[in-house]
């Protein structure tokens, strides 16, 4: 009995170790492209084009980063991206919470059909509506304007969907009790619903930040002036204009990830919890 236990404990440990080793190997493969970005960015420029130059750069030229930032208006691109992203996150999270809450906790005429309409927005390939959308944005006078990029994407079908699934599990009794106490609907929303929704808010913040920070097709047609370029547009411009300056392109590409990583690290502890509370389970 005792021998059996220790043998199974041993095999258990063996199993855990081998799973761990496999995971580490897998993580190595997953991480390699990002490492390679880094390696390309800091290599001496002569080494960039010889793939055989070795996995580890012969020396680390940190100056490449400074050069890249010096040669392109990376800071202005970043500022534009940040302005767009921050406004978009605030707006999207607020209105998606309100909307998802209404779909989850109210019965009203046309609810299901409206919800279906929201979901159908997910299924429209962006390239199909890009020209009509450009005409709308142009009619509204929002070309080369932050709002021209923020507003068209502020309503996010996927966000509404997640919020709805999450909020379905908020007990009705809580809301009814507050109503009986004479609380206004807005007050109920802000005082009861929002505090209960922290995990899903974290998920929404991460996703919205990610979507807006990484947006490409819409800013490409809306932001015609170079001073309004976002990081992704800038990266695309570099790829098109300086197609041999791989260390510069990789340096900028790598830097473009930094805000995402900060946000993700910051909100990460809510992340799995939030998704697990939402319909994504």
């Amino acid at each position: 009995m005792i021998a059996g236990t220790s043998r199974s404990a041993l095999s258990g440990r063996l199993e855990t170790t081998s799973i761990w080793l496999l995971l580490v190997a897998g993580a190595g493969v997953m991480f390699f492209p990002v490492y390679w970005m880094f390696a390309t960015a800091v290599r001496p420029k002569d080494e960039v084009f010889s793939g055989a130059a070795g996995l580890i750069p012969s020396s680390f030229v940190w100056q490449n980063f400074a050069d890249a930032i010096g040669r392109v208006p990376f800071l202005s691109w970043t500022a534009n991206s940040l302005i767009i992203t921050v406004f978009a996150v605030v707006i999207t999270v607020t209105i998606n919470l309100l909307c998802g809450y209404a779909f989850a906790k109210f019965r009203f005429a046309g609810r299901d059909i409206l919800f279906l309409a929201v979901l159908s927005a997910l299924m429209i390939p962006f390239q199909v509506i890009i020209v009509p959308l450009f005409l709308v944005v142009s009619e509204l006078g929002l070309l080369s304007d932050y709002w021209g990029v923020i507003l068209p994407r502020a309503a996010e079908a996927f966000g509404i969907f997640m919020v709805r699934q999450f909020m379905v599990s908020i007990p009705d009794e809580l809301l009814e009790a507050a109503r009986i106490d004479g609380a206004s609907e807005l007050k109920i929303f802000f005082k009861i619903v929002v505090p209960l929704s922290k995990p899903i808010i974290a998920v929404l913040v991460i996703f919205t930040f990610m979507w807006r920070w990484n947006d490409f097709a819409l800013p490409l047609i809306v932001m015609m002036k170079h001073e309004m370029y976002t990081v992704q547009l800038g990266l695309n411009l570099l790829r098109g204009q300086f197609n041999t300056e791989w260390s510069m392109i990789m340096a900028i590409a790598l830097l473009s990830l930094v805000p995402m990583l900060i946000i993700f690290t910051f909100f990460q502890r809510y992340f799995v919890q939030g998704i697990s509370g939402s319909g994504l389970k």
Binding site: W20, A27, M30, F31, P33, V34, W36, M37, G51, A52, I95, L98, C99, Y101, A102, F103, F108, L114, A117, L119, S120, A121, M123, I124, P125, F126, Q127, V128, I129, V131, P132, L133, V136, P152, A155, I160, E173, E176, A177, A178, R179, I180, E185, F189, M210, N214, F216, A217, Q232, L235, I249, A253, L257, M260, F264, T265, Q268, I275, S278, K281
Partner: protein, 318 residues
């Protein structure tokens, strides 16, 4: 608890006994207010959707009935664009390419995501870091992903070929042989997608109550049986959602392929959205492109609704 009692009382209130006139009025106003509230709450979203999604969609339909090169005046031609679709072999080829791409990426990304989630749901050393590494590609933009992938897979300077050549293989034309181009795209897409699947599965695993496993273990169920009869059925909603999102995603794939292969070699990696894009901006046939877009939209919609129905039915049976 007090709240629940209050609700119960409230529910009984107006129906049983005679409420005071003031109570009745308050009840009425509240009922009326809550009638309006949901509409007010969804209004901002719906307004934005209407202006920036639904109206452009209707507009695209309007364009689909016309011949328009973007720089001239549109001319009404009825359903001609739709009629043309049936005989456009390239449309069907890019549609079937897209289907192949979806079949190659969606189940695989779900499977790998699930295996990772099961492994990372254990108590392992450095679990958080491992999870983060697997999730990392999800947050990388399409532009950056395409830049990295095109660089890694590059036939002439790519590190993959350099490494292969060191062991005496290659060079492989990763992006320019019909045999490997789709493969390279699928690998890149998996790199992007599996992290998302993993996180969703992880979340789902964590909401499975341990009591299910206790019961199964009491009954002497093997680990495979536990997975087969407890885990897998309880992960159904997550699987279903990932399946739908995966298919929607792969039917809309564009940037990555545009940068990596341009749809070539030949038409071997031309996906439907790229074909639409080409018709609009290279072929200058915006009307025809819009017609294809409408058809694609309806296809995705029907696929999703069908999935939904099937899923409902399976759930009902279960």
């Amino acid at each position: 608890m007090a709240a629940v009692m209050a609700i119960a009382e409230n529910l009984r209130g107006p129906a049983v006994g005679r409420p005071s006139a003031a109570d009745a009025r308050r009840y009425w106003l509240q009922a009326k207010r809550s009638q309006l509230t949901p509409y007010l709450f969804i209004a901002p979203n719906m307004a934005l959707f209407s202006v920036f999604v639904f109206f452009p969609l209707l507009y695209a339909f309007y364009i689909s009935l016309r011949e328009w090169s973007l720089i001239d005046t549109p001319r009404y031609i009825g359903l001609e664009n739709y009629a043309r679709l049936a005989s456009d072999t390239l449309f069907w080829q890019s549609l079937s390419n897209t289907a192949v791409y979806s079949i190659a990426t969606v189940p695989m990304s779900l499977a790998i995501g699930l295996v990772l989630a099961l492994a990372l749901n254990r108590d392992l050393y450095g679990r958080t870091i491992l999870r983060s590494v697997f999730f990392l590609p999800v947050v990388i933009s399409n532009v950056a992903t395409a830049v990295i992938a095109a660089w890694l897979f590059n036939d002439n300077y790519g590190v993959i070929n350099a490494l292969l050549q060191q062991v005496g293989i290659g060079p492989v034309a990763w992006l320019s042989s019909p045999r490997w181009a789709l493969f390279s795209l699928v690998v890149t897409s998996l790199w992007v997608r599996i992290g998302f699947c993993m996180v969703v599965y992880l979340a789902a695993l964590q909401s499975i109550s341990p009591t299910y496993y206790d019961a199964a273990q009491m009954d002497g169920a093997s680990r495979w049986q536990q997975f087969r009869f407890v885990t897998w059925p309880l992960l159904r909603p997550a699987t279903f959602l990932l399946l739908i999102l995966g298919v929607i995603h792969s039917f809309q794939v564009f940037d990555l392929i545009y940068v990596m292969t341009g749809g070539g070699p030949g038409f071997s990696t031309t996906m439907i959205v790229q074909y639409i894009y080409q018709a609009a901006f290279v072929g200058s046939e915006m009307g025809y492109a819009s017609a294809m877009g409408m058809v694609l939209f309806v296809m995705i919609l029907i696929f999703t609704l069908l999935q939904w129905r099937v899923n409902r039915r399976v759930e009902d049976v279960a």
